[in-house]
């Protein structure tokens, strides 16, 4: 599932799909933590999943706010539209 999320992140150019792929990747890593914790009977895996849940919630809040700003500015969700920064 992590590989699927990574493929989705690399292939799609729509910011909404990129955020969804990031969600898939975070979820897959959480699944790995919980299954490892179940394998060895430790509670640490579930604690790590709680932290991953926190990170996902924070990430999706900021990411969707950025998405709204990108859409209001460029009227498109294409991430290539925002590649105008000159350094």
């Amino acid at each position: 599932m992590f590989a699927l999320g990574l493929i989705g992140l690399l292939v799609r150019r729509n910011l909404l799909f990129i955020l969804m792929a990031i969600e898939v990747m975070l979820n897959a890593s959480g699944l790995a933590f919980v299954s490892a914790g179940a394998r060895w009977g430790q509670a640490d895996g579930q604690v790590m999943f709680l932290f991953i849940l926190t990170v996902a919630a924070a990430e999706v809040a900021v990411g969707l706010a950025l998405l709204l700003r990108l859409y209001h500015r460029f009227h498109s969700l294409d991430v290539d539209a925002a590649s105008e920064m000159r350094g």
Partner: protein, 196 residues
């Protein structure tokens, strides 16, 4: 119990594949919700019932609601009615409904046979998780609260209307975007090449 685990895992992988490959964002959101629910069933079969509940409440509940809000917020243009009609076509709901029906069947089987089934792995109870969370991981909890506060303030600042007046008016892509009309599913195919 093991069969339920494998069926839920297959449903999760299938729904994730369909999430990544859909072109319509609402279809992808439906499949992503089904994928998260399937992962919740997997958590339950792995002996983590509290994490399964959190997965449903926070991931499939709160985060998916945020996604749906944003998708609906972006579609305030003239095409809204046609887009809405195409989304409400029955074909869009068949796939997620079948996958969700499989999960409902599994959960009802688990509820009917509760107590008689033995989990394949030892259950890690929420009590142990709480003792570990507020024992050795107390610093992590504080850091998580800092992270959530930072995300709250950051999302408010980025999304606030007041900061919107500072954007440069009349930049090139701004004009082209306005001319062609905003559309959620358009991925910039008609934007001029070499805009930079």
């Amino acid at each position: 119990m093991e069969a339920i685990f494998y069926i839920a895992a297959i449903v999760a992988v299938l729904a994730t594949v369909l999430t990544v490959t859909r072109l319509n964002p609402v279809h992808a959101l439906l499949y992503l919700t089904v994928s998260l629910l399937a992962v919740a069933v997997v958590f339950y079969t792995l002996g983590a019932p509290f994490m399964a509940a959190l997965e449903v409440v926070i991931y499939a509940g709160a985060i998916m609601v945020l996604f749906v809000f944003v998708v609906m917020l972006l579609n305030l243009g003239r095409h809204t009615v046609e887009i809405e009609r195409s989304w409400l076509s029955p074909g869009a709901f068949v796939g997620p409904a079948i996958l969700a029906a499989i999960l409902v069947g599994e959960v009802s089987y688990l509820l009917a046979r509760s107590g008689t089934l033995t989990p394949p792995v030892a259950e890690v109870s929420p009590h142990q998780v709480a003792l570990s969370l507020y024992g050795p991981y107390l610093l992590g909890v504080e850091l998580a609260s800092f992270l959530l506060l930072g995300a709250l303030v950051g999302a408010y600042h980025v999304g606030s209307r007041r900061a919107q007046g500072r954007t440069t008016v009349g930049s090139r892509s701004d004009r082209t975007g306005l001319a062609s009309g905003g559309d959620l599913v358009r991925t910039g195919a008609d934007r001029p090449s070499g805009a930079a």
